[in-house]
Symmetry: C2
DNA sequence: GCTGTATGGTAGCCTGGCAACCTGGCAGTC
DNA sequence: GACTGCCAGGTTGCCAGGCTACCATACAGC
């Protein structure tokens, strides 16, 4: 049997809702520089009629763009293009079964996690080490994906930079199903979860010792190992720091 | 006179709009695990009455949470908690004048850009090199912040990973004012823009030569240099890979 | 046991409207 | 002439109500 073969019939693509279309249109308009920075947009009434949608739909779209930092609105005055039209949000497409998407997201995770490990080694406090050790223990006892996520989250927290926490949370959340499947299938792979736990332990030791370079390399080794275990080719070019056989 | 001294009176904090409050409340509710994963939420009518807001306000909030991947809705059926409740969006707070926020964002940029440089060196094609060279030329001729942004964007494009492009765009957009000010004030700093251009050129050569490790180090050197030039202490711990002078 | 159908419920979308607020200009004052 | 206070028009924030397309479930029919 082919256990982890996703059925070929994926969820049918639905027609985009009106709100989504309006969001995309306005975003494109702003990105194309159609409105100058900090320029005022037409009033909601006018915009809704020119776009041919009701004001409520337009307002839902505007709310999203305001939340993304693309637009700002001042009550009684109008809606303006933000001073930072690129926005303040970074979105990932839903990573479904497509291996290409998966590889791209994993690649990002590789650099986020290696960077976090490097920083964490330099800044970790005793509480961070306790958290890491607890996650490691849980992993050894039950070997669950939850402990894996907790471990990596603890590294992000140890960086003392909240953005790393948010980024790692986002990426591990997106890869959650994959990670869970990985732990379940780990038993079948030669080496099984033993490799994963060994890699985590090495990463923990490197962070504890306070050696940023060692932590980076341990994280890199772990992530390339994880990619290999669930059959992800970090293809095209080495995402590994060196062409050597690893240390 | 004190040209770049921001007036002490910043923009007054406005009371959060109803929509923002509803978004925050629902997000917290989901994050707290109040609703199980993939569970159905109460109907919009019911939710709006329990929250004490109109349905239009609730819908604007739901639209944001759907865009963030926290919720999904099926017409005719209901609104459900997403399978990935952590969402698919990563948000940065508006980086104003606070140096602490600036340092955090810049730290993230450091790792995004060094990673992108490493990947770019392995995957760059001839078109990428042309773009990089053009940006470098523009930088030498006019030394503008725009050329700087174009250069770093070209590196992200060369990774052939669209997420790197999005992330670099986001971060450089957020740091835009700072970067622009940096170029304007560069003339006053000893070394001036000469250092910046030299660093960019070195990074370009490393990417052209196809050596990922060299590209990473060149990017690291450039970013630490940039941080130093505009008086940003990448404090607490070294953000540089090694204490040595490089390999 | 399976298939088709009726029914209640739900989200998507629209119309219309009111209050709070902002902006620009005007009259009045020093 | 410069400044202050005020007014009117325009704009966003928020609300109420309603209609349609769609979904899920139960039920009748085969």
């Amino acid at each position: 049997m082919q256990p982890d073969k996703v059925p070929a019939l994926a969820a049918l693509p639905r027609p985009a809702s009106l709100v989504e279309q309006v969001v995309a249109a306005l975003r494109a308009e702003v990105a194309a520089g159609r409105f100058a920075r900090t320029a005022r947009l037409p009033a909601e009434q006018a915009l809704s009629t020119t776009l041919g949608v009701s004001r409520t739909v337009l307002r839902e779209a505007l709310a999203q763009l305001k939340a993304d930092g693309v637009l700002v609105s001042r009550k009684g005055s109008g809606v303006y293009v933000s001073a930072t039209p690129a926005g303040n949000a970074f979105r990932l497409p839903a990573v479904g079964g497509e291996p290409e998407r998966l590889r791209e997201v994993f690649e990002l995770r590789y650099y986020a996690e290696t960077g976090a490990a490097e920083l964490a080694a330099a800044r970790r406090g005793p509480a961070d080490l306790r958290r890491l050790q607890a996650a490691l223990r849980a992993m050894r006892a039950r070997g669950a994906a939850a402990a894996d996520a907790a471990f990596h989250r603890a590294i992000a927290v140890a960086t003392q930079n909240p953005h790393f926490v948010a980024l790692v949370d986002l990426l591990s959340g997106q890869l959650h199903q994959v990670i869970a499947a990985s732990w379940e299938n780990a038993a079948r792979v030669a080496g099984g979860p033993r490799d994963a736990i060994r890699e985590h332990a090495a990463l923990y030791r490197a962070i504890r010792s306070g050696d940023p370079a060692a932590a980076r390399e341990a994280a890199a080794a772990h992530l390339t190992g994880a990619a290999r275990r669930w059959g992800l080719a970090l293809g095209g070019a080495p995402a590994r720091p060196r062409r050597g056989s690893g240390r």
